[in-house]
Symmetry: C2
Subunit: 295 residues, 2 copies
């Protein structure tokens, strides 16, 4: 079983409109709501490829109740007094416009309860995946604490985070999976190799960098492996990074060779591009891509 | 007591952001949620000026439960199976951008229950105010039905609506209060006087036209009264039309002369401009404006 941890889950709302009129009134033609947050997307992709998974997340308010009803993967909810956030994505005649609420602030007691529940859930898991932003006002040290809790249960952790949380995860010895822009921003490095080396020096066990159309690179101590992206995949890249994280997690949890993990990540990421919704993948395409077929 | 009817209430969400980036990701700095819909705003203004009021509205889903908890005026809710809508207003460095969800479709049975509840509530009221858009897929004839139900209880109706619903209200003999743009759009008339005359010919008892900075005009059979806007009022015009409707409703319900009703509407509308939130008015300013003081 893989456990995913989503510190700041969201109701992902998508508004389809006609012509986008910033500064005016836009009639929404169609509304879609689905559970979101990167760890939730990872869990949904894992469930889609039949990997046993459980999602751990804080839930509160009306939004939390809705998330609890709408989640289609097994989950453990830690109740909080705040209300979960919403993100609004507006799709119209141009690039999507996203409005991202910051999310609730959790009290120290609530984070302590969250850590206790993590300790209960993680033992017996094959891997912990920590994925997505921290709520406003949250210390990045919490990520290190979660990595430590998993380690005490004999479980390794893969962290997809940015900024100070990414650095904290590296210091705690986790495997980390930033995208290239996040890597450069967090480390202030001049290029990808220097950024990955910096995270390894901090203590990261493995640094996997997703590069979109330029494939995926994995940096270990004294070792770099790169797999290209599936060529000519056209579609919606929303959620492709989360699908790649899921692909990586499956292979790492099963103890498969790193190069296989990267190929699995690239194939699942490409299969997610073919579906417009984060957390969904085109399964037949995934299996074709794994076998080296083009898009 | 004044009864307000809101066919399509909403959770009005306001996102404050920094620089607005259409086609990109916008971090929301502050989120505000409040009950909305034009009839709800009218009811809140009436309560603010100590006029006994009750709001009638369909409520459903998580959004409906939230509205029921958050409404700070007495209300009668008709339960529906659909979920109430949300509007999102983004305020940043330019004009506000609004995204308006269409709202739930109600079944024939739900509208019948709504009419029955209206019949129960309206008797003993001094005025019915029908305000705001109809949900998607709703026949404008429903507005005429509500006017008829009120008339059978000996109660007059003031309707703030647009398009076919405005025409249906006029045919049913209601007093109507479109803004100038809505009047011209619904009647295809060349100017305000011709548009008002068209609604009077259809059967409207009174046509009150709000013109923003150009004041308010009232057209009755063979009679036009115009009051100027309070000069030099600066602020946020959101909700000013609803406050003007409330001001008009108070005076009409009390049987005061039309010119007083218009002055009251202009003063309350201007007092709403001084408050950024729909449904709120600056009470000291309202009383100053009523006495002819400038902004």
């Amino acid at each position: 079983m893989i456990l995913t941890l989503t510190p700041n889950p969201a109701i992902d709302v998508t508004y389809r409109i006609g012509t986008h009129t910033p500064g005016g009134t836009n009639r929404v033609l169609e509304v879609q709501r689905r559970p979101g947050g990167k760890g939730v997307n990872v869990a949904r992709v894992l469930a889609a490829v039949d990997v046993p998974v459980r999602a751990l997340l804080p839930l509160g308010g009306d939004a939390g109740r809705w998330l609890g009803r709408a989640l289609d993967v097994p989950f453990e909810a830690v109740p909080i007094s705040g209300e979960n956030r919403t993100t609004v994505t507006v799709t119209g005649d141009g690039h999507p416009t996203v409005y991202a609420e910051p999310g609730p602030e959790l009290s120290e007691e609530e984070w302590a309860a969250f850590g206790s529940r993590l300790a209960d859930c993680v033992s017996g898991s094959e891997l912990l995946v920590v994925s997505g932003s921290l709520p406003r006002g949250t210390s990045p040290d919490l990520v290190a604490e979660w990595v430590r809790i998993a380690r005490e249960a004999g479980v390794r952790t893969l962290v997809d985070a940015s900024g100070p949380a990414l650095l904290a995860a590296a210091r705690a010895g986790a495997a980390v999976k930033p995208n290239q822009a996040e890597l450069l921003a967090a480390t202030s490095a001049a290029d990808e190799a220097a950024g990955a080396a910096a995270l390894l020096r901090l203590g990261a066990r493995l640094v996997v960098v997703s590069r979109g159309a330029d494939g995926i690179a994995a940096y270990g101590p004294g070792d770099v492996r790169i797999v290209p992206a599936v060529p000519d995949v056209r579609g919606d890249p929303t959620g492709a990074g989360d699908a790649a994280t899921a692909g990586l997690a499956v292979a790492l949890a099963a103890g498969r060779p790193l190069i296989e993990a990267l190929r699995n990540a690239a194939a699942l990421g490409a299969a997610a591009v073919l579906r417009p919704v984060a957390g969904e993948v085109d399964l037949p395409a995934y299996h074709r891509f794994l076998n080296g077929a083009p898009a």
